[in-house]
Amino acid sequence: MPTEIPADSVGLVTPQIAQFDEPLTLRSGRVLESYQLVYETYGTLNKDHSNAILICHALSGHHHAAGYHSMDDKKPGWWDSAIGPGKPIDTNHFFVVALNNLGGCHGSTGPTSIDPTTNEPYGPEFPIMAVRDWVTSHARLADRLGINCWHAVVGGSLGGMQALRWSIDYPERLKKCAVIAAAPKLTAQNIAFNEVARQAITSDTEFHQGYYYKHDTLPRKGLALARMLGHITYLSDDSMRDKFGRELKTGKLNFNYEIDFEIESYLRYQGKRFSDMFDANSYLLMTKSLDYFDPASDFDNDLSKCLSRSQCKFMVTSFSTDWRFAPERSKEIVDALVRAQKPVSYLEVDAPQGHDAFLFPIPEYFSFLRNFLNPAELGTTEGAAPHAS
């Protein structure tokens, strides 16, 4: 709990809801007749609405990217390290919008929401979302907020894929695109990890083909297992060794199948915590969206051809120990952008944290991001006093 709000925090924030009654036709062909998006904003929109930045979230993310919901919050939003007054995404200059994607479980319409046609939760009936569907819904939120063109769309991991999709689908609606720790499509190995995670969930006896709400239960064990697997792939061997090594929980080997090592205890804790706050159907959906992402597939599998539509400046960042989305994958995006003759800067950050590094305030990475976003380009900063809405 923060006894006082740090000076570089956006402070106390309140999520907002936008209701949309215009049907959204999805890539799958299915239609969401109406839906809602939950979002938060930080900073102030300037007079000509030119200082807005959209933050796209990763797999298990949501709208609460920075600040605190109450003085009882143990932790701030998931990307508080980067968003706030004086931080790389500087709320003294920028109006920051962070939302929860459709299909999520933190307020935006998703599997836990009530399907108006049945008056029951959608559950597994909720349509699988493609990254482009999310981007279309983001654009509608932008319309609602009066933002015709984003100063930047920024995202890490699955968020980076959304940022990339933004540059392809709405080239005239963003000036800059920051693609962090992402890939132009998943490798077979990555899809394999996602499939094991999904199998962990669907083979839980409490899963009930996804209709677990009806049975008044939750596939907690499966979801925890899925998260444990994911968690391992987000860290690096080095970071795990530094944090846990082979430290023993009780100081001795017990020769049973209870917890011996600290890392086991840590993974079980993370898995349990996650299963208390995340919906299994949402997890299945998000991993499928990741698997399906491959924008080049509509352009003869030529990423360069695909990105030739974009009109924005790009920043691509990768992290040396990220093996889930390795630097080589980011480099594929950079190579395609150079071949398409698009403006791009690329940095591989030397960081021990693995895929999770994109959430850490690593000085070189943050300088790179700050310079790329460059608030000086906005000219005057009138009406941009730090304030959280």
Partner: protein, 199 residues
């Protein structure tokens, strides 16, 4: 401002698309962009230099020049430049060929190991030469492929690379009549404007 910038700028046309290999803090690209409205990128391996580039608004790609540049299309840049880095690369002859493949023309500058001070140093002292242009000891020098102007020109000939123009200068990057007369002995740095020989 670096003195060599104005020489290089003479060989770059307005609106050219340029690639600067080993671009450092991006000074040359920023200069060319301001003076000649060029576009393009720098490539650099040093993180601090990369950050410095972005501070100037210069687009920069984190790349080791020893790694492949295969992904760049033939003649996709008007000019590919490399200042004072050729001697530090693992395969200078491959990189040189890549430069004239990717660029319609290329500009290379490097220090001359054939300068008289270097020759005298090795001749009299019997030690690896050190000078203003070669300030390193033999064991800690990043320059692993030193050459003289003569060596370089022989390499160009062998590789089918045409020298469009050459400017030879001293360490203060100034030209003089004496240097023009005996460049391989009196010149310390050369700037070469090159292209692939028509076959």
């Amino acid at each position: 401002m670096r003195h060599d910038l104005k020489y290089i700028a003479n060989w770059v046309s307005t609106n050219d698309r340029v690639l600067d290999l080993g671009c450092g803090d991006g000074e040359l690209l920023a200069y060319l962009s301001a003076e000649k409205n060029t576009s393009g990128y720098g490539m650099e391996i040093n993180i601090d230099e990369i950050i410095a580039c972005t501070e100037r608004g210069v687009d920069v790609i984190h790349q080791d020049l020893n790694d492949s540049l295969d992904y760049l299309d033939d003649a996709s840049f008007d000019t590919v430049m490399m200042t004072q880095s050729l001697q530090q690369t693992r395969h200078p002859e491959i990189l040189l060929n890549e430069m004239v493949r990717i660029g319609k023309r290329a500009i290379v500058t490097f220090p001359n190991f054939g300068h008289w001070t270097t020759r005298v140093y090795l001749g009299l002292k019997g030690m690896m030469p050190m000078s203003k242009t070669f300030p390193f000891r033999w064991y800690n020098t990043p320059n692993i492929h030193n050459c003289t102007f003569k060596d370089f020109e022989i390499l160009c000939k062998e590789q089918g690379i045409r020298i469009i123009q050459r400017t030879v200068v001293n360490t203060d990057l100034e030209e003089s009549w004496a240097i023009k007369l005996m460049p391989n002995i009196l010149g310390q740095v050369a700037l070469y404007h090159i292209e692939k020989q028509e076959r």
